[in-house]
Symmetry: D2
Subunit: 377 residues, 4 copies
Amino acid sequence: MARLNWGMVGGGEGSQIGPAHRLGAQADGNFLLAAGALDQDATRGKAYAKRLGVAEDRAYGNWQEMLEHESGRADRVDLVTVATPNATHFEITRAFLAAGFHVLCEKPMTMTVEEGEEIVALAKATGRICAVNYCYSAFPMVREMRHMVASGQIGKVRLVVVNFSHGHHGDASDADNPRVRWRYDPAMAGVSGQFADCGIHALHMASFVAGDNVSTLSADFASTVPGRVLEDDAMINFRMEGGAVGRLWTSSVAIGRQHGFDIQVFGETGGMRWASEQPNQIHYTPVGGRTQIMEKGEAGLSDEAARLSRVPIGHPEGFPLAVANIYVDIAAAIRGETHGAFPTAMDGLRSMAAVYQAVASAEANGAWVDARPPSLR
Amino acid sequence: MARLNWGMVGGGEGSQIGPAHRLGAQADGNFLLAAGALDQDATRGKAYAKRLGVAEDRAYGNWQEMLEHESGRADRVDLVTVATPNATHFEITRAFLAAGFHVLCEKPMTMTVEEGEEIVALAKATGRICAVNYCYSAFPMVREMRHMVASGQIGKVRLVVVNFSHGHHGDASDADNPRVRWRYDPAMAGVSGQFADCGIHALHMASFVAGDNVSTLSADFASTVPGRVLEDDAMINFRMEGGAVGRLWTSSVAIGRQHGFDIQVFGETGGMRWASEQPNQIHYTPVGGRTQIMEKGEAGLSDEAARLSRVPIGHPEGFPLAVANIYVDIAAAIRGETHGAFPTAMDGLRSMAAVYQAVASAEANGAWVDARPPSLR
Amino acid sequence: MARLNWGMVGGGEGSQIGPAHRLGAQADGNFLLAAGALDQDATRGKAYAKRLGVAEDRAYGNWQEMLEHESGRADRVDLVTVATPNATHFEITRAFLAAGFHVLCEKPMTMTVEEGEEIVALAKATGRICAVNYCYSAFPMVREMRHMVASGQIGKVRLVVVNFSHGHHGDASDADNPRVRWRYDPAMAGVSGQFADCGIHALHMASFVAGDNVSTLSADFASTVPGRVLEDDAMINFRMEGGAVGRLWTSSVAIGRQHGFDIQVFGETGGMRWASEQPNQIHYTPVGGRTQIMEKGEAGLSDEAARLSRVPIGHPEGFPLAVANIYVDIAAAIRGETHGAFPTAMDGLRSMAAVYQAVASAEANGAWVDARPPSLR
Amino acid sequence: MARLNWGMVGGGEGSQIGPAHRLGAQADGNFLLAAGALDQDATRGKAYAKRLGVAEDRAYGNWQEMLEHESGRADRVDLVTVATPNATHFEITRAFLAAGFHVLCEKPMTMTVEEGEEIVALAKATGRICAVNYCYSAFPMVREMRHMVASGQIGKVRLVVVNFSHGHHGDASDADNPRVRWRYDPAMAGVSGQFADCGIHALHMASFVAGDNVSTLSADFASTVPGRVLEDDAMINFRMEGGAVGRLWTSSVAIGRQHGFDIQVFGETGGMRWASEQPNQIHYTPVGGRTQIMEKGEAGLSDEAARLSRVPIGHPEGFPLAVANIYVDIAAAIRGETHGAFPTAMDGLRSMAAVYQAVASAEANGAWVDARPPSLR
């Protein structure tokens, strides 16, 4: 099975997410880094690409150059990953999609709902894959939870509780640190801080596992560190189309939480919970019964969970291989093989609509609003 | 140190909370059960009281009889515990207080805000103790958290997150069970189900640990099991007088959670969390530092926490001895000794106000409302 | 049900174990402290007894006086608890047993095997209860484990692994602290340090849960802190009469462990584990199945476990109420009622034999020796 | 930085460890699979190699063919991984080393001590890298523990406690399963079962973290499942050259344990523990202080730990990336760069000596024996 050619925009030296993408794309031998425009500084970007094994003529100075040259090659890259600053995702994703490339875009896919609508339409029109990196949905045991819900193992879902809270922005003395400050500055981050940064991962998780969409929501935003304009703590109550109730708490001032991303799903006949810091287990409780610890790699898991696990039960797999699982699925999709449900442009659009509507709700003292993008109301 | 005489109304044979009170009152030798009207069935109540060691002439058929006879005795009981059905708490508490007895009332102290105002006024007028059994506040490590906040160890409190969720009412096939059904029936439970039952413990905990009062709130109530009128799941966003943000989730359909009562407090310089199922530890994180596991019984805890711990570090103490700690404090108060901050009628009143205001908010689609009783606005 | 009269030798003011006994004996209303010789200092002991509610004429200056006067009373104490320094347990226990009292003795019951044989014979001859306070065996979930083994739920036991390790004697700079030093000094502690102090709790636990006796053992002792004569760390390999293999590690220099007492039992068809710091759960795994979390208070537990649990599922009970459970069982035995299997003089004898044999094995480079007292070989 | 050429012997389709090596070697872009003799069935092996991207002329039918052809190539593989059945490790490793290749051998490196001595001598003579895949030593937080010991953060090591226990061979009805049976059959597994399979990982871990060698040991072996000749449960007491005491328990019948591999190290001024199922944390306790949770990725870790972590704090990394870390270090060593302490032939030799000496000790009723290979006594 020949490796697919892979190209990367952004994710240069020193980037936090770049290494996770490279490891993810290449871990299982599905993709080979064949082209890249890795840095806003053309010289640095080209040099780094070459150190990563990219041929000289495919180490590009910027994405426009990459788009132009790759478009003309017979061995053009099969997939472009967009891992640039948030405000540029839309433009780059749109350009590569329009030129017929498959794209995996970092979240947020766009900065506005209108842009999201445009990407969804474009992906549909071109028939190209436009995936969005909600990578937590690719942990094997998250796929298992989705399967358990879909196959009725906990009955109709009544309640979904998701949290994504950390404390890494809780130090007021560090608030002027540029790596922190921009997130709470509307000029750079847009309309939302913590909810747009982490909360939409959690909201996507809720939809992904429940197999349902968020229909309405009510938000309470707070800025707890003096000087911040955008929220660093948010609570979203929501309802899903199928009637389930939702609770979502996200915070960046929860000092002591490193990566407190977890989900609990409660249905008519059972409940379960999963946490991203110990992603290899699900705690599952059938109604009236004992809590059972389900293990990644145990016998009898769904095909989806089994396929995405590389080492036996008891051997933990972590975040980088969840990213890898996104690439596994995209590679399979490109090859026309069976694959799992990776997040797409529609998920990116729904997230952006939820962000704008949550902002509107918070500004209206928690009024309940439609959470969906206009095209889906 | 002579034992104090203790009387009990309610808590008869088969009662869930009765044994916890008896153990709590007698564990440390502070109180001796001297009188009781334990059951609505006078014969059963008298017989049980005698089996518990109460003298024949102080085993009463009902609380009115107990009130009358005890009022006339020179060795009248020093404290009356009221552990009857909720709707009777007000009347009984009022009567004993008015007659000059100290009272420990089970929660909820009253069914209405007006009744709560009356009890507060009466306790003030008589100078008698009116305690309310928010017993979780008496775990040694909860007292330690309160001390840590009060002494500035985490700086100004920014955020308090409390949950009290269980799954014991999640089985729809059990929903007609009389022990479950009344809780969701307005005719029996009043205006609120799960929030009034468990949520107010959590709200009290937030105030107790933060050392602050809830000023405003916004509520989202849901009934997830068909046929229920009152809520079995609720989310309360709140603000405290000192500016802290609050989040409170309570549920009775969280299948798999046995007694998911926990609190997280985040301040300017640190965060901490505690859970009632493992009540002997606090996880504390100074900003920028590592999470530390604080243990009940470790050297250097506050007097408050040290005094309420009976066995050395590593030896767990549990719920019954938290109840006992309430009695330890009340006994000390009766004797005029130094004691910790046990919950009083004012806490009972604030809870009832919060219940009514949460109901109003939920009915008004989450509108923000004043959470305080009229007398304190 | 009238309270039983209870007497206490030792456990005076400042004693660590005294409060646990008083709480344990009185928590459930079974016993009332009626007599005591609480302190080696007669004046202090009498004064403290009176403060605890003992009548003046039953607050004794020493145990001999208590023995003499109580023997002559019609309302003599029903049970004597011996909580004096270790070296005196034998003499006092023997004296009270011989005079026809029931006795609960702190561990170790004796300092030699011969003394242990004498107590066993005396208890048999007099028909009196001689219990030994291996209180960990009275946690509800430990009783449940014993029941699970006895009823075949994990098949024939293959392997028992017990640990009892803490780090409270790990600070060399504290090694001269009198409260620590005596434990490693043969003149005061006898032939063994940590194994005799903590290890025998673990060895008893292994036998109690497996429902089997230790037949042979091999020991490795180590003194890791300079200046200590007796061991502060020990490993015991053993075999049980039914063929099960045993592993026991005990240490007092395991810095960071507070009270690392746990047990794992593995049989033909399942395994389970329990830890004393979280005593309200068992992790149980049927062969080929998932690990299940069993909760104190859940439906379907054995009568033994159900009877010893006072508050509902999810409400933790701790160490003091495990001690109380020993008293519950002894009270029932005194009253001729159904009761659980509390530890007796035979357990005390077996422990002492194991200590001496472990010492002999360790001195013989781990040679396998018979673990049983001579009378049972 | 050009990728190194990598060759693999064994690890064909369906192999358990093969995928972990391929992911490990290729995850970080250090190696590219350039040659392989992947299967005992030449046709299958060649076909699979080609599917993995190996060029036709480097997809070999057996290791001898691979050795011959690769030896003659200018672009010969830089590293050969040996992941064949245990009994063939020695022969293949020897052959490639002798021909001047660097080798990474799966454990056990050899089946006898003499073979181990030969490999050590050969690696020394040729100057080639001979690494052995004790991959658990490459978890970032294991490297951190080693660093903490080496830099004196817990003082002189007094005690090391390691366990490696699972329950996957605990089902007697599965004992004839060929994948299980061979492990307890001397004809196929050699002199030891569970100790040689898992125990030597734990013994290596003890030495690696303590930075010291095992000098003497005493073993107790047991076969708990009827019909087994070799041990399925073993306890090893040991002493290290620096005087530290060691305890090692390993079992394959611990039903409910998935991969119970953990280590506790106790020194003069602190203790710590780590478990392979939650490998991203260390629990560290300074003497007299609180337990601290150290996190992979936190600020201030050693260079060694920091370098081997790919994603930020709170993002778990797991077993496959520990294997990858071995390759990271080997690649750096091949390139002459700074690298961490990966396990070498000397570790493989020490393990084999320990296995034979443990067997001898167990047969001699736990007699203490020298644990070291003859050449190092």
